[in-house]
Structure formats: C-alpha cells, structure tokens
Amino acid sequence: MTPEQTPAEHRNGRERPAPGPSFWRFVPLDDYRVPTLPPSGALAKAWATIRRALRQVEDPSLQPARDEARLRTLPQIRLDHLVAPLDPADPADALDAALYDWCRDDEPRHAVRFVVGQPHDGQREMLPWWAARHGATLIEPPTPAEILAGDSDTLAQFSASGPHPDGLWVIPDLARWYLRHSEGLGLVRSLLARAETGELGRGVIGCGSWAWAYLSRVWPVPRADALTAQAFDATRLTRLLTRQVERHPHRRVHFRHAVTGRDILAVPSDEESPHPEIAQLAAHCRGNPGTALAYWRESLRAEPESDAIATSPDRPGDDFFEEEHIWVSARLHEPILPNETDEDVVLVLHALLLHDGLPTDLLPELLPLTRDGCLAILLRLDQAGLVARRDDRWQVSPLGYAGVRALLRGRDYLIDAF
C-alpha cells in the first residue's frame, strides 16, 4: 500500500503489501535474537585481532593506515548524507506486512496489537507515519496532571470518529500514559483494560521496551502477539548502512578502518558478507538500529587536507567512478559511566528510560530527590554526553544507552528484554 491509498482500498486490496526493505521485519517479542559476535568469547575476539594484525603485515597491497589523531570529523551536512536518519517508511512497510492479516480480519482475535520498540530505534516516529498512511486516529497522550488525576475523560478521544472506516486508532507511545507515581498508574490500567477487552475498538499501541517491562509488572497480562522489529545483525546492519548512504551516480564511497586501512563497507559494492567490525557494532548495540547508526555516525572521519576523492576505473571496461574514502575510527566513541556512579544518578537514569524521557519538573514528583538535585544530576549527565534534551524532555542519549543499560543491569534494576 502506498501512503496515497485510502484505508478502504487497503482493506479491500487483493495483494499482500510488499514487506519493505528486507532489513526491517516485525516478529513476536520472544523471537527477538540479540546479535552475537561470530567467534564468541574474549579469547576468540583477541585471536581475531591478532589475525587481523598479522594479515595487515602479510598483505603488501594494503593501504597505509591513518593516524586517527590527524583525521578530522566530518561536517554535519556530510554526515547527514552519509548516515541519514532512519526513514519511518521502511519500518512502516514492514509493519504493514506483519499486520496484514489482522487489518483484513473483520473480527480479529485481539482488538489491540502492541508494537514494542527500543530507545532510539525509530519505532516511535514510525507509528504516527503508519497511522497517517492508514487514516487511523492518532490518540494524543494525556497531560501529567490528567495522568495523576486518573482522568477517564481522556479515554473519550477513542469514541471520536476518525477517517478510518473501522475507527482504527494508534497510540504511538504508551510510556506517555503513565507515571511511576502512587497515583500515576490508574489511567494506564484503565486504558489497557478497556483496550484489551475491545471496548475501545481496534487499535495499535506502541510502547518503549523499558515502559513495556515496567507495565508488564503493573498490568501482568500475557501478550504473546506483541511485535517488535527483529534485531539488526551484521547482515541487516550492513544493508541498512548501505541504504543510508545518499546515492550519487558514478561515485563509490569506501568506509575504511582507520587502523588497518581495509574497507569495512563500500557503497555500491557486490560484497555480501558483512565485515567483522559491523558484526561487532551490531553485537555492541544488541541489534538496535538507531544506536548503531549513532555510533557509526560518530566514528566517521575524513583526511585533514581534503575529502580524498580520486578518480579511477573500477574494472576494465566499466564506467569511471569517483572513489571517496571515509575513515572509520577504531574506537567506540561512547561516554564512560563510572562503575561507582552515585545511586541518585542511577535512579534518574532509570526513571528516564522507564518513561522514555521526562521533563525536569516531573522528576522530583517521581523520585525522592529535590528539583535542584535532579537538575544538577541532569546537567552533569548532559556534559558527560549520557543524556540529551529533546524538546522539553531529557532522554538517555543514543551513545550513552549501552553503558546506562549495562550499569542498570549490573545493579539489578529492572531492564528491558532486549
């Protein structure tokens, strides 16, 4: 289905929609597979490093590696061309394929379908896009005051008739419907109870993985049919990175390892097998495409003197290609979170993840901390690059997410299932 098609056309359509780019695929939550390193274990990793180092010496055709300190970061506009933000149309196509039968079923077994996403993986941006495509009513989240008051008038939005013939509605982020507060859980329970019994009609509810983990304890109803985007392993991540590069005819972009000088990725290229560096990135990000793109973007470097564009024939008889070389830093550029991190900092980070971001004023309502104390912690974390402000809400940054998750896991706090 294209965005121009009406919902009725979509429902009466004869053909199943194209599943979209093959790297996006929605699967049940239990089918999510966190990517692992091909040779698992530290010993294998060390051996792979030694082998790579030996090969570097043995291969006479190898280009000289670059001193990372001499490389410069790329300008913002160039980064936007090389690593474009995730296009919500891609996961929306995949979600269409996953929900095809449910959309066509006049009496589906479940009135509501849940779509669970990880922080920064683009699913929250995808659902409003998907709703617009299907003419579904986009349900506005309640205000914090309405949540704390347990205001059931908020649920009246569902009865308002939308453009969709079946009254299909979409909640992009369930995390906006609750607060971890003594009086902040009633409204979301009421919403889930009425939605799952079919009282509110047919709808799709998006939920962050952390809010999902918490709400599963608050409203423990098994939801085996909840969907999530399958993890981006090395192969899918390679395809995604390739697709993110803005195409120019007659130009080939080489992403080269700054230490070994070898190509990690070339676009366009016939090479199918993913590079071990990309496998490592996929494993480090646990299959989250949003954080993987952030790391990739952060690691790109250019020659100090020029963009190093050379012209050379690709193969005899082929057209000429401009060869552009982008260097990929060997280090993971992520903020360091000390292991001795103060408990108050841990509480703030956990609250930010459980709520998919929070404004400063709400934090003292939820935590046993003062507003000034919260603000001081947020500013410290902001300086360290662990949180970032988006609109009026503080969120754990894409580059800080892996470290924060590891910290919370190490301290036995509730973490997501991904």
Partner: protein, 270 residues
C-alpha cells in the same frame, strides 16, 4: 639421658635458617591475608547484588585456607613429624586451649563453624540480640557489623552457640522491608490495599520481580496495614522504607483517609 633423647626427637634442631623460614612463611601468610582481604573488598565495592555477596563471602574461607596452609608448613619445621609427636602436640594444644583460653578458643571454633554453616556472611543483615546491622567482616574471633547508626560492633562468634542469629537476607542481595500505616478503622480497606500496592510499585527502590504484600489487621485503636516489599539492594532498606512511608502517607492524605487518632505502640506482633 632418655629425656634428652626424647626432646631431641620431638623438636627439630633450630638454626638461623629454620627461624628465617618460619618468619618468611608467617610474613607471607599475613601479607597474603591482608592483600586478599583488601582485594576482595575493593572488588566487592565494584560489584552489586549477588555477585558482591558471593565475592565477600569468600574472605573467611580464603583466610582459613591461608592460615591452615601456613600452620601445615611451619609445624614440620619445628616438630619432628611423627605420629607420636603430632598426638603430643595436639594434646598439649587442646589442654592449653581448654583451660587457659577457653572463651577465645570457643569463639575461634565457632568462627570455623560459621564458615561452614554460614549463619552470616559478609553483606548479610543480621540481628544478634539487640544488635542489627550489616556484616562487613567475619574475623577469626568476631564478626563485625555496622549498625544503621554507623556504629561498628564486634560480636564474638561464640554467640553462635547460645544466641539465635536472625539473618534478614541469608546471602541474597534482597531482604523484605515493611512500611507500617495506622488508619482510622472507618475506611474502604480494599481501596487502601490497592493504593498501598501502587505505593510500592511507584518506589524507585522496589525490586519489581519480588512479591508485594499488604497485610491488614484490626486493633482497638484502628487498622494496621503493613506494606511488605523488597528493595533492589539490601543496602537501600532504610531509604526504601522511608520512601514507601512518605509516599503512602501523601496518597492516603490526598484520598482523605484519616490516620489512627490514638497513639499505637508498635510491637513485633503488630
């Protein structure tokens, strides 16, 4: 003449080299124990939950192993290692400990028993008599606990023989905490129970995979609710109880619930 011969066979001739060997063994054993204790404590500070407790629990066992190894190395240097000699040494040691150092030996023995039976380990929260606190060191003779008032108390292991040892978490990272609420009897109990359950769920210290219980009891002065839940880490117990108490009080006040008017004296029976 016979006596002289017996002494010669019992003790080995001591020279400067033997004395030096003994000194080196003792010094190395002491250094190893000190280093091990510091290293484990350093590592323990960087770990949390079950990993921390398992790490800290190794200290007394490793110390006992190092101490026994040192004794096994020193004894043959001093005494001719024959069956008769060993029986004589053990007998003499037993008599000395039994008469002169009875209490000290009792605590030492209880310390060895404590390593085996594990009535307490480093990181456990224990109550011995009136003393409640976190075990921070299991020594040869005493167990050291730090109370909530930040007092360090050394309790002889010998109390293992006579006193009940109450262990709140028994080697696990979590322990049950209770927040008490005393309400006027005229109220909707089911609503209060639901509210208090959400109070626990709202606390950032709550370990969400552990059970939450609300226990109610009626008394002549009113209703007594006990909200029982587990914090993420046992070290958070006082902050957790405080947080649940304040949250519970705030939400009950907002809902217009009246608190028990007559003063209630909390007892272990509630």
């Amino acid at each position: 003449m016979n006596e002289t011969t017996g002494n010669t066979h019992f003790f080995r001739p001591m020279d400067a080299v033997t004395l030096l060997e003994i000194a080196v063994i003792v010094v190395i054993a002491v250094l190893l124990i000190v280093f091990m204790q510091r290293a484990v404590a350093w590592l323990g500070q960087r770990l949390y939950g079950q990993r921390r407790l398992s790490m800290l629990a190794m200290v007394p066992l490793l110390r006992l192993a190092i101490g026994l190894t040192a004794i096994l190395l020193v004894v043959p240097l001093v005494i001719e290692p024959s069956l008769q000699n060993m029986i004589a040494v053990l007998g003499a040691t037993g008599i000395a400990l039994g008469f002169a150092l009875k209490d000290y030996a009792s605590s030492l023995t209880a310390g060895v028993v404590a390593i085996g039976e594990k009535p307490y380990r480093n990181g456990d929260w224990i109550r011995v008599g009136e003393i409640y606190g976190e075990v921070i060191h299991v020594g040869l003779r005493t167990v050291n606990v730090v109370t909530p008032e930040d007092d360090r108390v050394a309790i002889p292991h010998g109390r293992v023989w006579t006193d009940a040892i109450v262990n709140a978490n028994d080697g696990k990272p979590r322990l049950q905490c209770t927040a008490d609420f005393h309400l006027d009897p005229d109220h909707d109990g089911a609503m209060v129970r639901a509210l208090l359950r959400d109070v626990a769920l709202a606390s950032p210290y709550l370990h969400l995979d552990s059970p939450i219980h609300v226990i109610a009891a009626e008394h002549p002065w009113g209703s007594h609710y006990r909200l029982k839940a587990y914090p993420v880490d046992s070290a958070q117990q006082f902050r957790f109880v405080t947080d649940m108490t304040l949250r519970g009080k705030a939400v009950l006040r907002r809902r217009g619930e009246a608190f028990a008017a007559s003063p209630a004296i909390a007892t272990p029976e509630g």
